[in-house]
C-alpha cells in the first residue's frame, strides 16, 4: 500500500484496459411502466418470464425514524400488527389465505421505511393484491393481538443478547447515533414497547401509512395491463394524509480522543469489535466513490481488512466494513471479532487500515479491481423478481434516479483514486471514532491501554 505518483498513472492505464463486459457497459432493466395514482401512490409494473412467480413490494415512508419520542418500536409493532387483523379478517384467516396459496407476505419496518412485501405463484396475483390492500389500508389492530405481539417483540428484543454479533451491532448503532431516531433499534426498547397501546399503533398507522410517497412494485410472470388494473382497483381508493414530523438530519459528530465502550460478558472467549463514525446519507453525490472505497477497505475476500486481519494473520473468520446510508444521514462501521488473546492486535490492524485509506491513494490495481468487482457482480443483483421489485421501489423512495441501474457501471468506472481518498477522509475515521467491544473484560482489559477513553458496562445492565 505504498503508492505515490506512479499509482496515479496506473489508474489511467487500468481504466483504459478494463474489458467492456465487466467494465462500463450499461445494464438494462427489463421494461416497466410507472403510474402515479390519484391518491399519490406510485405503481411500477414489470413483466418477467423466468419463473411462474410474482413479487409484490410496497414501500411506505413509515420507518422507525418516525417513532414518536418515548415510543420507540411503534413502526415495528405497527408493521407486525397489520398482518394480525384487517378488514374484519382475523390473524389466522389472513395467514391461512396467504399460505393457502403457497405465498409469502409480511410487513417489516426498517429505519426509513416499512416494506410490505411478498412472493406468490403468478396465477394468484389478484388474491395477493387483495390481501395486501386490505392489510395496508384497513388494519383492525385487535386488542388481544396488540398484547400478544408486544410480548413477542419484547422477547425478540431480549433474545438479541443471546447473539454476540447482533447484540454488539445493536449497541454500537445505539451509541453512535445516540439521541437521533436512527440510534434506537427498529424493534425499540422493551420499556417503550411495554407502554405502547392499541391507540398509539393506530395513530402511527394513520400518520405514516399513507399513499403519498409510497411505492408499489409488481414484478413477475404477469400481464402488465391486468396487474396495473388490479393495483388501481385495490389501492386506488386508499386514503390518508401524512401527519408525521420530518426526521432531523443525523449531524456529523466525533468522539474526541476516541470513545471506547466495553460491554462486559465474562462468558465470552471471542470478542466482538465495532469501530465507526457518522457518515453521509443516501443523498450524497459521493455514493459511488464510497461504494468503491468501502469495497477496497472491507468488501470482498481481497479487501484490505480481510487480507490483513484474516488472510495474513488468521485473527478472524470475518472482517469487513460497511456503510449504512439513510435519507437523513449514515454510518460507517468496521466489523470483526477475534479470540480474547488477540483483541488489541485486531483493533490496531483495523484502525491502521482505515487510516491508510485516508492517508494514501489507492493503487491503480486496487481501484480497477474494486470497480470491476462491483460492476461484474451487478447483474447478479438484478436477477430475481424480488431483486427487481426491491430496486424499483428503493430507487424511487430515495430519489436515486431511474437511470441508476443503467448507468451504475459507468459511474463506478468514473470514480478516481483521488475521489476515494477524499470520501475516505470525510467518512472513514481512525481517530476520534467510536469503538464498541463486546468482550470478556477481565481477560482483555490489559490490552486496552491507550486506545481511548474507556467505559465499561456490564452486559446484565443493558436491557
Amino acid at each position: 500500500m505504498k503508492q505515490t505518483i506512479i499509482a496515479a498513472m496506473a489508474v489511467l492505464l487500468f481504466a483504459a484496459a478494463a474489458p467492456a463486459s465487466a467494465g462500463t457497459a450499461g445494464i438494462d432493466l427489463p421494461e416497466y411502466t410507472k403510474h402515479t395514482l390519484e391518491n399519490g401512490l406510485t405503481v411500477f409494473v414489470m413483466e418477467t418470464r423466468e419463473v411462474p412467480l410474482v413479487s409484490i413490494r410496497l414501500l411506505l415512508p413509515a420507518g422507525s425514524a418516525a417513532d414518536p419520542a418515548g415510543f420507540e418500536g411503534a413502526a415495528n409493532l405497527t408493521a407486525e400488527l397489520v398482518m394480525k387483523g384487517a378488514g374484519g379478517m382475523g390473524a389466522d384467516e389472513i395467514a391461512e389465505q396467504i399460505e393457502g396459496l403457497g405465498g409469502e407476505l409480511s410487513a417489516s419496518a426498517d429505519r426509513d421505511y416499512t416494506a410490505v412485501a411478498g412472493n406468490f405463484l403468478a396465477r394468484d396475483l389478484a388474491a395477493a393484491l387483495e390481501i395486501l390492500g386490505t392489510v395496508v389500508a384497513s388494519p383492525d389492530f385487535p386488542a388481544d393481538e396488540v398484547e400478544r405481539q408486544k410480548e413477542i417483540v419484547t422477547a425478540a428484543i431480549h433474545s438479541v443478547k443471546d447473539s454476540p454479533y447482533r447484540f454488539a451491532s445493536r449497541e454500537f448503532a445505539r451509541l453512535l447515533a445516540a439521541g437521533h431516531p436512527y440510534g434506537h433499534p427498529v424493534e425499540g426498547s422493551a420499556a417503550d414497547v411495554e407502554k405502547l397501546t392499541r391507540a398509539d399503533v393506530a395513530a402511527f398507522h394513520a400518520a405514516n401509512w399513507v399513499p403519498e410517497g409510497a411505492f408499489l412494485a409488481i414484478v413477475g410472470d404477469i400481464d402488465a395491463k391486468t396487474a396495473l388494473k388490479l393495483a388501481k382497483k385495490r389501492l386506488g381508493s386508499w386514503r390518508g394524509e401524512r401527519a408525521a414530523a420530518a426526521v432531523p438530519v443525523l449531524e456529523r459528530r466525533t468522539f474526541p480522543g476516541t470513545r471506547v465502550v466495553v460491554i462486559d460478558d465474562p462468558e465470552l472467549t471471542q470478542s466482538q469489535i465495532r469501530i465507526g463514525n457518522i457518515a453521509v446519507g443516501m443523498d450524497s453525490p459521493d455514493y459511488f466513490a464510497l461504494a468503491v472505497g468501502n469495497n477496497t477497505l472491507g468488501g470482498g475476500f481481497t479487501s484490505r481488512l480481510m487480507d490483513e486481519i484474516r488472510v495474513n494473520r488468521g485473527l478472524s473468520y470475518g472482517a469487513r466494513s460497511g456503510l449504512a446510508q439513510y435519507r437523513r444521514g449514515g454510518t460507517f462501521t468496521v466489523v470483526t471479532y477475534t479470540k480474547n488473546e488477540t483483541l488489541r492486535e485486531a483493533i490496531d490492524v483495523a484502525l491502521e487500515q482505515v487510516r491508510l485509506m485516508r492517508d494514501e491513494t489507492l493503487t491503480g490495481e486496487e481501484l480497477a479491481s474494486s470497480q470491476r468487482y462491483l460492476s461484474g457482480l451487478f447483474p447478479f443483483r438484478i436477477e430475481t423478481n424480488d431483486h427487481l421489485a426491491g430496486w424499483l421501489t428503493r430507487l424511487a423512495f430515495y430519489g436515486l434516479g431511474e437511470d441508476f441501474v443503467e448507468t451504475y457501471r459507468e459511474r463506478i468506472g468514473a470514480v478516481t483514486a483521488a475521489d476515494v481518498q477524499r470520501v475516505a477522509r470525510e467518512n472513514f475515521h481512525a481517530e476520534d471514532c467510536l469503538i464498541v467491544l463486546l468482550a470478556n473484560y477481565a481477560e482483555t482489559k490489559d490490552q486496552l491501554a491507550g486506545l481511548g477513553g474507556i467505559e465499561v458496562i456490564a452486559k446484565a445492565d443493558i436491557e
Binding site: 474489458p19 463486459s21 465487466a22 423466468e50 419463473v51 412467480l53 398482518m83 389466522d92 395467514a95 391461512e96 396467504i98 399460505e99 393457502g100 396459496l101 403457497g102 405465498g103 405463484l121 396465477r123 400478544r148 410480548e151 413477542i152 422477547a155 425478540a156 431480549h158 433474545s159 443471546d162 447473539s163 454479533y165 460478558d265 465474562p266 462468558e267 465470552l268 471471542q270 470482498g300 475476500f301 481481497t302 487480507d307 495474513n312 494473520r313 488468521g314 485473527l315 478472524s316 473468520y317 470475518g318 471479532y337 477475534t338 479470540k339 479491481s369 470491476r372 468487482y373 460492476s375 461484474g376 457482480l377 447483474p379 447478479f380 436477477e383 423478481n385 452486559k459 446484565a460 445492565d461
Partner: protein, 453 residues
C-alpha cells in the same frame, strides 16, 4: 448444517431454516405446470469427472460449481473438521495461481466465489459474467489438479477456522445446542461431530493429513462439475475437457462402513449458559434420502411449522403463547438424519410444558391425520419454494449439484414434483406415527443461568 467460507450475514438459525427448505419441490392442484425438464447436457470425462451443463441465456452471467463427495461424514476421530478445513485451503494457492491469487484474479475480473461444507458434501462456486467461463475453469481446475497446501497458509487458515468455530459454536448458544444434539443422537456414525470439527482436532491436524485427504477426495472421479447460465454448451465442454481432462483419477475412497444402530429410548441433555430466553432442540431419528418417505416428511414439516397458519406455530405461539418461535426442519442426507424442532420460549415459560404440547400435537397427527386443506396448502407451498429455488443460475446449478451428491443423479429433480403430488394424507399420518415415536427422541434443553456480574 453448512459452513460457508466466510461469515454469512444471516443468523445461523435462519440458515438452518433455509437449508431445511432447500430440497423441496412439489406441484399441487396444477395440471398446467409441465413436467420439469432441466434441459441439461451431461458428459463424463475419461478421468471420471462428471460434467453437467445447463445453458440459459436469460441474464449474461453464469455460475460454475464443483461438488465433491466429501464431508464430515468421511472423517474419523482425530481429524474431525478436516473436510471443512480443506474447503478453506482450496482458496490458498495451487500451481498456476499461488496463495491469494485465486481471489485476487477472480475479484479483479468481476467474479464472486464461495464454498460450503456439510456432513455429506463440499461445494465450490464462482458467479461471474458470461465472458468469465474460461477464467473460472482455469482457476478451479488448477486447484483440483495441484493444491499447494503451503505451510504458512495452513497455519494462518487454521487460525481462521478456529475463529469460525468460536463464532458459530463456542460463543453461540444455538451452536452449542446443535453440537450437543448430534453428539447425543449419534453414538457410532460420523454425523455425531460438528462439520467444524472438535477444537482439539483442529489443533492436531497436520499437513500430511491434508495431503492424504486431498489425494483421496479431491479426485476428478469423486467430483461433479456444473455450469449454469449464459454460454455455448459445445464450447464449454471443450474448455472443461482442456482444463480438467489431464487431471489424474485416483483410487475411489472406501465406502463408509459404520451405520448408526437403532435407538431404543429417549435421550436428553442440557446446556446451561446465561441466556435471555429458554430454548429447546428436539431431534427425532428419522431416515435417509434413499427412503421413499422423505416426500411425506416434507409435507408433514410444512404442515407443522411453515408459516403462521401452521399447526405448531398456532398452538405454541398463538394459542398457548408459550413460545415466540417454533421452527422445524428435515434435512435430506445420505445416511439417516434427524427431524429437528427448534423452539424459543418466553423468558418465564416452562420448557417441560412446551415439550408436552409439542408431543401432544405430534400424537394428534399420528392418530388423527391431517386435513385435505392442510395437504393442499403444503403442496402449494412446496411448489412455490421449488420455483423460488430456480430463479437464479446459482440456484439451478447448486440444486443439480446437491441432487448429484445425495441421489447420485441430478435427474431425481425432475421426478420430485410428481413424488410430492403423490403424497396422501395417509402417508403423512403414517410417517408421523413412525418417526415421531418417543423412542427416537433426542432432547437438548437450554437452561438459562443468571449471569454473574
Amino acid at each position: 448444517m453448512v459452513h460457508r467460507r466466510t461469515l454469512p450475514t444471516a443468523a445461523l438459525i435462519a440458515l438452518c431454516a433455509i437449508l431445511a427448505g432447500a430440497a423441496a419441490p412439489a406441484i399441487a392442484g396444477s395440471n398446467k405446470s409441465p413436467a420439469i425438464d432441466l434441459g441439461v447436457t451431461v458428459k463424463t470425462l475419461d478421468n471420471g469427472l462428471k460434467v453437467i451443463l445447463l445453458e440459459d441465456h436469460s441474464v449474461p452471467v453464469l455460475s460454475r460449481q464443483t461438488f465433491y463427495h466429501v464431508g464430515a461424514r468421511n472423517e474419523r476421530p482425530g481429524i474431525t473438521g478436516i473436510s471443512h478445513f480443506m474447503e478453506h485451503m482450496m482458496f490458498n494457492g495451487a500451481e498456476r495461481y499461488g496463495p491469494k491469487e485465486f481471489d485476487a484474479v477472480l475479484e479483479a475480473n468481476g467474479g464472486y466465489s464461495n464454498a460450503f461444507t456439510s456432513k455429506d458434501m463440499t461445494a465450490y462456486y464462482e458467479d461471474i459474467s458470461s465472458d468469465g467461463l474460461e477464467l473460472v475453469v482455469d482457476l478451479d481446475s488448477d486447484r483440483m489438479a495441484a493444491l499447494a497446501l503451503d505451510s504458512t497458509f495452513l497455519c494462518s487458515e487454521m487460525g481462521v477456522v478456529k475463529e469460525e468455530r468460536r463464532y458459530s459454536i463456542d460463543n453461540s448458544i444455538f451452536g452449542l445446542m446443535y453440537e450437543e444434539l448430534f453428539a447425543l443422537a449419534y453414538k457410532a456414525h460420523p454425523y455425531s461431530w460438528p462439520v467444524l470439527g472438535w477444537m482439539s482436532d483442529l489443533d492436531g491436524i497436520c499437513r500430511d493429513d491434508c495431503v492424504a485427504y486431498f489425494r483421496t477426495y479431491y479426485a476428478p472421479n469423486n467430483a461433479v462439475l456444473i455450469v449454469a447460465g449464459d454460454f455455448d454448451t459445445d464450447e464449454a465442454f471443450a474448455l472443461v475437457e482442456r482444463y480438467y481432462g489431464g487431471i489424474r483419477r485416483q483410487e475411489p475412497p472406501a465406502p463408509l462402513r459404520t451405520a448408526e444402530p437403532e435407538q431404543f429410548g429417549e435421550r436428553r441433555a442440557e446446556v446451561r449458559k446465561p441466556a435471555a430466553l429458554p430454548q429447546l432442540l428436539i431431534g427425532f431419528a428419522a431416515t435417509a434420502v434413499s427412503s421413499p418417505d422423505i416426500y411425506a416428511i416434507d409435507v408433514l414439516q410444512t404442515i407443522l411449522t411453515t408459516g403462521h397458519s401452521s399447526r405448531l406455530y398456532k398452538r405454541l405461539v398463538r394459542e398457548s403463547a408459550i413460545a415466540v418461535e417454533a421452527d422445524s426442519w428435515f434435512s435430506w442426507m445420505i445416511d439417516p438424519s434427524l427431524y429437528i424442532f427448534h423452539l424459543t420460549l418466553k423468558a418465564d415459560a416452562d420448557p417441560a410444558e412446551c415439550e408436552r404440547i409439542v408431543y401432544e400435537e405430534l400424537a394428534a397427527i399420528a392418530s388423527g391425520g391431517v386435513t385435505g386443506a392442510e395437504m393442499a396448502k403444503a403442496k402449494n407451498s412446496l411448489e412455490a419454494d421449488f420455483q423460488r429455488s430456480m430463479q437464479t443460475v446459482n440456484g439451478k446449478a447448486s440444486k443439480i449439484g446437491r441432487y448429484e451428491m445425495l441421489f447420485g443423479d441430478y435427474r431425481t429433480i425432475q421426478e420430485v414434483p410428481g413424488k410430492y403430488r403423490a403424497v396422501t394424507a395417509d402417508d403423512v399420518k403414517r410417517v408421523a406415527e413412525t418417526y415421531f415415536s418417543p423412542n427416537r427422541r433426542n432432547v437438548v434443553t437450554l437452561v438459562p443461568e443468571r449471569a454473574e456480574s
